[in-house]
Symmetry: C2
Subunit: 344 residues, 2 copies
Amino acid sequence: MARVRMSDVAAAAGVSTATVSMVLSGAGGDRISAATQAKVREAAEAIGYAPNSVARSLRTQRTRMIGLISDSIATTPFAGRMLAGANDAAREHGHLVVLVDTDGDPAQERQAVEALTGQRVDAMVYARMWHQVVDAPAGLAEGSVFLDCRPAHGSWPAVVPDDREGGVAATRELTAAGHRRIAYLDAPAGGVVASALRHEGYRQVLAEAGIAPDPALHVRGETDAGGGRAAAEELLDLPADRRPTALFCFNDRMAMGAYAAARRRGLRIPEDLSVVGYDDQQLIAAELDPPLTTVALPHYEMGRWAMEVALGERTADPDEPHRMPCPVIRRESVGPPPPARASR
Amino acid sequence: MARVRMSDVAAAAGVSTATVSMVLSGAGGDRISAATQAKVREAAEAIGYAPNSVARSLRTQRTRMIGLISDSIATTPFAGRMLAGANDAAREHGHLVVLVDTDGDPAQERQAVEALTGQRVDAMVYARMWHQVVDAPAGLAEGSVFLDCRPAHGSWPAVVPDDREGGVAATRELTAAGHRRIAYLDAPAGGVVASALRHEGYRQVLAEAGIAPDPALHVRGETDAGGGRAAAEELLDLPADRRPTALFCFNDRMAMGAYAAARRRGLRIPEDLSVVGYDDQQLIAAELDPPLTTVALPHYEMGRWAMEVALGERTADPDEPHRMPCPVIRRESVGPPPPARASR
DNA sequence: ATGAAAGCGCTAACAT
DNA sequence: ATGTTAGCGCTTTCAT
């Protein structure tokens, strides 16, 4: 790599390294004469000088690197856009991101914190692939920020999707179309914080619309297509007067399964059955037939937000997670309820 | 962050920093007495010493960081497992990866190379989201390695999927089941190197099986579900005696569209029509009904390979890309051709 | 078996 | 307006 040092530039320009440092770092704008500045820049250019950030970091105690620890953002095809948001924000502020994927293994997390601390990153972001409550890794510095998760204990800034409002928006999409028998195809019970929050949102909308919640319309299944299909079948096998006219699915994969169940029964979407998903997974939502109306997770924006607070470009309350809105993506899977069951 | 330095450990242990350095770096195994070693370790532990990698790097001229420049691996949900492979290999050898996503923008690439060079990363990996031939970014150091792409000019180690053999494997899956009228749903003409390679493999298998290639069975479409569907429709509208009994699709998304086209015509998969995809995209291949037989891209292995040569743990020919095998993933979308057209 | 001392390449007081 | 100088925290000869 580059072998030429600042002293070489200084020699070539006939000035001291201090002068070179000042002009090249821009700090000497007013202190160094224009002529000298030009001379220095030319010399640097001519001999192909590239500053050594390691030396600078040692001196300034700032590395312009941000550590990003994740359970598996990088390795799974899901929340990658969080990285994009974080990366963009870092770049815009002249920082680099050092990424460590730990598979969610606490031992690896501890090592990651250690390695990143050793490299003296200016700050750390701790990210999860999906919204959850986590134990902070051992040794995580104050000033770190949580991305798509929040710490069970301790006080750190955090950003998570506003899953409650997402549940509201999804359900409202359905009540607005005229539905009153709306099912919620939920994730398995326990642990999944998004599941409970979306359910809250769902119930709130029903209440506002004066719809009595029917426990039979709240079913659970694995969060994949198979689970969604099984759950949807259970629902569609209900007697006609108790059967839902619309399905709010915990995620797009379950919605995909619900499509399959509807298809088996000869039900058309959205004419006979309306469906709303969650996640806006491009590979599914946009390519389903018909394209799926869904609620998007603001991954990119959350990644940006987290990086901006890590960089100190934005302040945040360390005791209350920032909830990022989840926009509805309208496509073609929602319509009015079928006439036969449109009125009660 | 940690404020305690090696001199603090030295003082606490009553030895010199040289001694501390030796024992803590393991280099003093035979030179320092066991008693002193223990004393030093205890002192370090007691006062919570954590070495400063920046200072070490300045001194040793090695940062134990590898730069990874990608067009958008991190930001799109596709080739993320390349990152996992790279990350795992780096970790196993005590290195960290500094990730920069450039969106494929040459200006950003140049900046990335510059920033990474400035940080004195020990090596760089240049990755693309899908197999392509690229112009190396300006200033890319010798010794860098190309991941999922190969340089149009210049001499660098590179790793790409063996798309030709993948095409062979996919097609053979179909001839082995007894098919003779096998269509290739290709990507649009031009540029996509994988497209041509897979086509070569396809033709080779036909030739080996003594099947005369029918130009009507080579159709092209956009590489999404819509394109696959249109291409499949064209094929399925052929007169019965010319219609294919099996479809080899450029990717899983096109296969998804082919499923839709088949469904519209009342064709069952695999009883009436066999389908093979490419990519093994979990969200699609495994969740389609029936699950799709496909060819997997060895993303994880390629990521690992690239990182290992970047780390110098593996040697590679800089003038010939390493071709990584693409395994067939057998699921349920391939069967024998329907009886009516089974024989020629 | 251990210590002294010279830097790695840069920045930032402080001088001039 | 520019130069001198003292480190940042560590590793590594070379001495002892």
